[in-house]
Each structure stands twice: as C-alpha cells, then as structure tokens.
Symmetry: none
Subunit: 412 residues, 2 copies
C-alpha cells in the first residue's frame, strides 16, 4: 500500500450557533465547499471533547494527534516558539507587552498608564538591550524576542526554574506593576529572578535612546515589559518522530506558528499571509499545493473567520467565508487518489457569543474510496447527518491516517 | 457573557425496547414534549457508557458531571443520606428492613418469616430504641433513621470501619438471618460490631411495646433489622464547590434525594410529591419554576415511568407519559434566552424486560441558539437522528455548561 499525503484546511471559528435561525456559514454561497461535502464523507466534531471549549492552540494539538491535557503548558511557550525562539525543555516562557509606567520608586511602585506604550512598534533596539540583562548570578539566561507591534516573548533558561509564578502584568490601566510571586516553595528562586529582570528592564528602557526620542515627540515610552501567561516548556515528541510524517504549517498568527514549532513542523513563510481578513488566500492555497511536494502532511490555518466571530460581525464573517470558497476552488484539481483533503475548524466562534464555544464543528474528508453520504453542503447545521457521525479531533486524525495507509494493524 | 440557568427534567426509565413494533413513549400522544423536540436539539444518550446498565443513582451522578466509577460507594450511603442522616466520610451505611424472625437461640439461629414484618409502618418508637444501642466499647456510634413503611437506614460511625463486610439480610423467606462476615482482615472489627448490633437490636425489638401490641392484634412483629447494601461514605466535592452552581433537587424517592444530599443539593420538599404515579406533577413543575429564582441548576425527577416499566404495564406507562405531557406544558412559557431546558431519562426500563437496560435514552436540549434539527417528536425511536447524535451523560452535562456559559476556555 502506498502512503498518501494529507492536507488539512483549518478555518478558525467558522461555525456558529443559530442566530435568527441562520448562521454565517449556512447562509453563505459556497459552491466549492459544497462540492467537497458532496464528494466527501461528512461529520460533526468535538475537537477536544463534547462541551469542552477549545483554545485554538489546544484544538490544533488535538487535531494533530496530541493530547492537549498532556502536552499543553500555557500560552507563553507557544507564543515564544511562534516568535522564533528555539525552546528547550525546562525553559519558562512568557508573553510580554511593552507598556508605559509612571511614578516614583521601584518598578513595582509605578502605575501602568498604557499596556501597549501607545502601540509602539520600534522595539528592535529595546529588545536587543533587554537581551543583555545579566542574570548569571542565578545561573540563568534571558531571551527576548519581539512580536508584532508592542508584543514580545520572554524566555528564562537555566536549572531549577518553575512556572508556578504569577504574572507581572496587572492587565489594568491605573494599577501598579505586580511583583512576581511564587505559588509554591520550589518557585521562589524563579520569582526572584523575574523580579530582578523586571527592575533591570525598567532601568534600561527608561533612558533608552528610542524611548527618549519618543518622549521628545510626545509619544508614550515603552519603559516596562509586562509578563503574563508563563509556562514551562515540556518535552514534546516531534510529529515526524511520532508519526513518521514530515509536517508543514502555513499560518499567519504567532499562536498557530508556535504550535507548529513546538511539534517540529516546518513553518513556511508565505507572502501576504497576515492572520487577518486581508490575508492572501490564493498564496496560501498555492503554497499548500507546493508544500505537498516536499511534505507528507500540510496544515493551512485561516484566522479571519474567528476574528469576525469575536467581533460579532455576521455579514463580514459570511462574506469572508465566500471569499475562502472562491479561492479554495484551486483544490478541486487535487488528485484524491493521492491526497486526502480535510476541511474543518478548530472550534466555533458564534456571532452571538463573540468567543469560542464548544459547539461542534463540521468536517469534510475527501479521499478516494471514502463512503460518501447524503450531506451535499458545508454547514454546521447539516454536517451531523454525515457518515462520520459525531467524532473527536483525535478520531479525525486517526481516521485520516488510516485512509492514507499511514497506520498499521493492531493484531493479526 | 451572562450565565444562564439550567433545568433538567429526568423521567426515570421512560424509554423502551420495541414490543410489537411500538413503545409506550413512541405511541403516547405528547404534543408538548414534541414541541420541545421541535424547538430544541435532540440526541440519543448512554448515561454512563454504551451497554452499561445504569442504576438511577449512578445515572444521576453521571448526568451531573460526576464519574460514578469514582464516587459511587453503593446504595447504603445514598439511602441513608436520602433518609436525612448527615453523613461523614468514613461512615459505613446500610439500607435496612424491619423483618420478622422466628425460632430459638441467637438472632443468627432464627429464620426470616417476613422480610417486611407484615408491611409494618409504626416504626418511630422502634427506631428511637435502636438509636440507644451502645457500641462505645468499639468506639463506634450507631444512627438509625426510618424510611417509608418497613424501610430504614443504619449508619455506623467511628475510627477504622470498613465496608468489606457481607449483608445480614438473607433476602429469602425461610432462610436464617446471616451473620455479618469480613471480606478482608481490615473488616473484622466492623463485622463484630455489626453482629453485636444485630443481637442487641433483636433483644430490644422482640419485647418492645410496639411489637407486643402488634402480636396482640395478630400482626407480625418487626423483631429484627436486616442490613444490606453496605458502603463506606466517600468524600464527594459538592456541586457548588465543583461547578460554582447552586443546585436544587425536586424528587419523591429516597434514592434520588440521597444522590442530591450527597452532592450538596438543596433537596426541596414539595407537597403531594410521592415518587409514584399518584405524584402531583403540577406541584413539581411549579416548584421547579420557583426554584429557578433561587438556584442555578434545578433537577426534577419523575419516578412512576420506571415503576410501570418494572411492572411491565405498557398502557399504564403510556398513559402516565401522557399525563406528564399535559403538565409539562407549563414549561413552554420559560424564557429560553435565560434558561436551558433538558428533557431526558436516567435509563430505559423496557416493558418486556421489567428492569433497567442500557438501551440509550432520548434527550432534548432547548436553549437560544441551539442548532435545531429534523427531529420533531420525543421518542427513543427517532432521537438518534438529532443534531447531538449519540452522546454520554457526562457529554450532555458539559454541553449544557457550555451553552449556558458556565464553563471556560481550555487554552487560548
């Protein structure tokens, strides 16, 4: 049996609850998605488990055969990996913002006046300076990497660190910067290191030329770095080690890129891919077709449907789905004797909830020989009638490995 | 996101296997239940797992988010809790009957001639006398509480007790009362205590004025107390601790009340609620509507459908279901933007089996935004076509928490 290749199209938060008896997906004109529903087998899926509201990160882990309860360690490590830091087991990683603080005394006596430092973007030199902070007295090294705009990732590396510590970001304007506190005895050293880092970072940033220049121009200084979402990096077996398949990710958002990095995917850079509704879908799908030449499993993530769900924008979501439908037409030319195409989502982001919910998502699996069913359009309102019935993310992954001969018999 | 409230209507054993191509539920005229099916999302449910025959107690635990494999410790503790005894972790509790024994010698030489002591009902004074039995030589205290008719609950409290002991109820007329035996070494003390209790109880009951009066009137004496279903009380986190929701139970039977007590529900007393087919359903549903003002989660249990299933009474079951349908009409007025209504059962009690079976039960979930489906009547024969597909009790619970925003996101 020859091994077939796999293409996952994950449309973030595409599905909804009923609103005035409709949903954006169900009411969108989607002839191409409907075509795939017609020639494929359909179902409804709980990416993690019924009633469990997935994050996009935990959902992607589940869709790729990983148990998020075992290998998920919070958002910090994923954002850090997504920003390009090469993580090691035992690192403690945070998401970070450049913010503006004012007041007298130590960093922890000062008050946050803007959590985004006036949406500062010129952080390259600031980050370079922060990377020079010396924590060698603790046997620890700090790594800082910028993200988009005011965002950054901060990673501490060394022996005996712990992630049982609190955030330093107060998450509220007008509040003092929080001192990092240990949540158990073993985390006390880590808390001391982080507080030392916070003080040093403030000292360096306060008088950094970039900030003095901003001040002169009447802009807020990025004079503090605020940490949140800390997690310790766990050892995660790479996708290739685990399943013997070379994996590529095509995604615009740091979070999804980070998931890719953590499981050892090649995270491809594609021009015009932004992680929002202006993303270049044509480039994305073409990049996927190309990646299938060099990889066994390609995952394409499309973010804007989720954003439009968070915004509660019914018409915007519907029309973006129609745009996806137009561009996805290029996948009709795939050779489904060689490629297994999966179209699904990581979770629902209903217009009337404006956040992720556990409502299950529709799935289409297109491959030679799948048992087609009565479902002839892509909609969360009809997918449950499909031949897959109601499955979980991990089931979908295993079903697809089986369809493509990437699995072996259990028993004789 | 505002938190919505939840109303569960659990109709005990409502569903059946096919008998002459029909079932009581499927052939009953149920316009109101059908209305809820039409405006809701439907499915078929294994309360514990496919093929596992649930008790009403274990099924209710599963429906409320508890794993019965972890927290169920036999019927004794539940009946004792339902009878009103405040249990503590480590107590060993039994269901008990007042029975009639005859013969010479010790209690264990005597023969049971009636397991219900002629359906004795005047047990208040007998129970009072049994509570005075002194087991202080063992460091143990006994608590006895009457149930309906000949029924009672018996609880032993003290250090080092075990539930690895056998029943003293022989469960057969004409058999000798059984000596309690230890099933392992650590239970030997407990067995000695129970046998001492059995002897003392018989000594007191044999010549108790209530029994002497019965004897004079030609009635059987309640001169022995027969123990069965012993279990050790485990620590169970309360529903409010676990889910942050205030829970109310409206139920007529001691078993279901006991489940409520064990997980810390407010077990409401409602006039005319009997746990049989003469129960006042109108009062029950009205009490539920009122309880929704003070509680987040209200469970109404309706028992008679199960009894009629145990009796093999097709027409009786069908007509009681029609009676439920008439009274449940009052719930049509609920505001389903604020309340999530669930109508389901704990298990099937098929007419042709006369006992619980694992055949899955129909479920309706009514709430704003649920994805309605093609199912437009409440029947175990069509529910599988609904949008929920086939789920488990724990799934239903988690799905409802998600629909009502009583859950949080796993991941980012």
């Amino acid at each position: 049996m020859s091994l077939k290749k796999i293409l996952f199209i994950v449309i973030d938060g595409i599905s909804d609850r009923l609103i005035d008896n409709k949903t954006p997906l169900d009411s969108a004109r989607t002839p191409n998605l409907d075509y795939f529903a017609k020639i494929g087998i359909n179902g409804i899926m709980d990416t993690i488990a019924p009633g469990v509201r997935p994050g996009s990160d935990t959902a992607h882990l589940a869709l790729l055969g990983y148990n998020p309860h075992e290998c998920y360690s919070g958002r910090g490590p994923i954002e850090a990996a997504g920003s390009g830091i090469e993580l090691k087991e035992g690192d403690v990683a945070f998401r970070a913002n450049f913010g503006t603080v004012e007041g007298e005394g130590s960093i922890f006596d000062k008050v946050v006046v803007d959590r985004r430092a006036g949406r500062i973007d010129e952080t390259d030199e600031l980050v370079k300076a922060l990377n020079k902070i010396d924590l060698s007295e603790f046997g620890v090294k700090v790594m800082v990497r910028r993200g988009t705009g005011h965002r950054a990732a901060v990673v501490f590396r060394g022996e005996g660190l712990s992630d049982r510590v609190t955030d330093t970001d107060p998450k509220k304007i007008g509040s003092k910067v929080k001192m990092c506190k240990a949540l158990d005895e073993n985390a006390e050293k880590t808390a001391r290191i982080i507080n030392k880092f916070m003080e040093e970072a403030h000292r360096i940033l306060e008088n950094h030329p970039v900030n003095l220049e901003r001040e002169k121009n009447g802009l807020l200084k990025g004079n503090a770095i605020l940490l949140r979402g800390g997690g310790m990096v766990k050892k995660v077996e790479s996708f290739e080690e685990r399943f013997g398949l070379k994996l590529a990710f095509i995604a615009g958002t740091t979070l999804i890129k980070g998931i890719g990095k953590i499981i050892g995917a090649d995270v491809l850079e594609v021009e015009g891919v932004t992680g929002n509704k202006h993303t270049n879908l044509k480039n994305k799908f073409n990049a996927a077709l190309e990646a299938l030449n060099t990889h066994d499993f390609v995952l394409v993530h499309i973010k804007a449907t989720d954003e439009l769900g968070h915004d509660g924008d019914f018409e915007g979501k519907k029309s973006f789905i129609e745009k996806i439908d137009q561009e996805i037409a290029v996948l009709r030319e795939l050779d489904f004797t060689e490629i297994c195409l999966v179209i699904t989502a990581d979770h629902s982001t209903p217009i009337n909830v404006k956040d992720h919910t556990a409502d299950p998502v529709p799935v289409i699996v297109v491959h030679e020989g799948v048992r087609t069913d009565e479902v002839d359009r892509f909609s969360e309102l009809v997918a449950y009638r499909g031949g897959l019935c109601r499955i979980r993310g991990i089931d979908l992954f295993n079903i697809v490995l089986d369809l493509t001969n990437n699995t072996s018999k259990f028993g004789a």
